[in-house]
């Protein structure tokens, strides 16, 4: 029982990071049918920003990271994605790869390809003991922040005027536009929101791993993408659930695989993902909106 609770706590925190990454990708996909692989680089650059600004005062560094990643997301949209907005999804996808690799190698150039150690908020690694379950404080912080962000996003989408517009745009962009929803503004807001999600992942990831590298975003973007696919492209709830599922799967395999197979954990994760998609090719919660695009 204790072991199970332990795994559950780890799965929830790992799943939180994946869910936030998936949400950042799912949000943009919902509105403009763009799978933004550069989302991983948003996270990576956030991590470098955090390292560069961490010295004097941590809260300020977190704010700086948020600001920098939001700005980066907005600039990426403006410079790279807006010119090809009306192109077909393949062009959008290739553009996102181009942006992703550009940013990745830009940072290889500036910061070098090697991972850098960065001791950030390591006091949060101390465990918080509940009965016999030992949960690092950071995991609790991660889960808490994720829940708050999810609640805030749900409130925004359900209860604000802008949220209704954004949902309408995700369901049928052209019709929403016809009704007066301002395309540039709604897409910019979606990118800013994905920037916030990416920056939060930057902070939580660096605090958990204590290191960063130019390629660190790849894994997160890939898992985020896979999570949105499992959840059903176009469904934000699906993206979140998909993220938590992949996180849970990763942690469960980590705990249950024989020691000599553990280095191949990701192979097992993705093999199971393939099986899930064979059984449900459209994902677990396929968004209604993905069905028809006028």
């Amino acid at each position: 029982m204790t072991a199970f609770l332990q795994v559950l706590a780890d799965a929830a925190s790992q799943g939180s990071l994946y869910a936030l990454s998936a949400l950042g990708i799912g949000l943009i996909f919902g509105i403009m049918r763009l799978v933004n692989f550069a989302h991983g680089e948003f996270i990576m650059i956030g991590a470098y920003m955090l390292m560069l600004s961490a010295a004097p005062y941590v809260p300020l560094a977190i704010l700086a990271t948020l600001a920098a990643v939001i700005l980066l997301a907005l600039l990426t949209e403006r410079i790279a994605f807006r010119p090809v907005r009306r192109a077909n999804p393949t062009t959008l996808l290739v553009t996102s790869f181009a942006v992703s690799f550009f940013l990745q190698y830009l940072f290889v150039l500036i910061e070098g390809a090697r991972p850098k150690g960065f001791d950030f908020l390591s006091s949060l690694a101390e465990p918080f003991v509940i009965g016999e379950v030992r949960v690092p404080k950071l995991n609790i912080v991660t889960i808490g922040i994720t829940l708050v962000l999810l609640a805030a996003l749900a409130f925004f989408l359900k209860r604000t005027h802008f949220g209704i517009q954004m949902r309408a745009a995700a369901l049928n962009f052209r019709m929403a536009r016809l009704l007066g929803v301002k395309a540039n503004r709604i897409i910019a807001v979606a990118f800013a929101m994905s920037g916030v999600l990416a920056a939060v992942v930057s902070v939580l990831y660096v605090a958990a791993r204590g290191e960063l590298s130019p390629v660190m975003g790849l894994q997160l973007a890939l898992v985020g993408f896979v999570s949105t696919v499992i959840g059903g492209m176009g469904s934000l709830l699906g993206a979140v659930v998909g993220g938590f599922l992949v996180g849970a799967l990763t942690v469960a395999l980590q705990a249950s695989l024989p020691l000599e197979l553990r280095p191949f954990r990701e192979a097992f994760v993705f093999a199971i993902v393939i099986v899930v998609l064979l059984a449900r090719p459209r994902g677990l919660f396929r968004g209604r909106e993905a069905r028809e695009r006028v």
């Binding site: 005027h161 309408a168 009704l179 007066g180 929803v181």
Partner: protein, 246 residues
Amino acid sequence: MNETIVTGALEAERISVRFGGLRALEDIALGLARGELLGLIGPNGAGKSTLINVLSGFQAPVDGTIRLDGRSITGLEPHQISRAGVARTFQAVRLFQGLSVIENVAAGLVLRRSSRHAAMKRAREILDWMGLGPKAELIAGTLPYGDERRIGIARALAAEPRYLLLDEPAAGSNEDEIGALTETIARIRTEFGCGVLVVEHNMGLIMSLCERIQVIDGGRTIAIGTPAEVQRDPAVRRAYLGEDED
């Protein structure tokens, strides 16, 4: 600067549309005045929907001009024409399927209402006005066809258009619904003061509703007049002969 200023009309002149070799519209004109109820009828394939698409910017004509209250709107994008005051509905209604009925209407209020509260209040008023109040909280995708069409009209009205183009609003409705719809469209004209263009196959609705009817066939206008005039017109009779219209 030498544009003719005609206040209060949506006008199309010398409009031609071709799809490959097919002449969908050939040198056709249409004028819809503010406060007017104009019916647009014709056999299947006559070009009615194409004409609505041209008026709302969904189809660029190869030739001709469209003017809105004297200002040329030829070549504008659909959302720009919508913003300028021309709203339309679609044969396939295209509601936002996952949103509630009231959210569907509120989504169309973004230009006029700044806050969610104001938008929802206005959306509620429009739904109540159309007798859809009790269905406001239902999810749009779950409703019968006739309701969806009326929600489509409510959503178009939310933009407070000066001209409203209705593409087959009665399709899929039963006799009772058509009666209620006829009354609603008549009230839209009086209460919103907009010009309403109705494309419809249901002759009962068109004849009882519109003071003026334009009949097109093969992409050309074959008659314009009052319901009585149009019904007597030999060209119209020829166009419809043998067609089983209800």
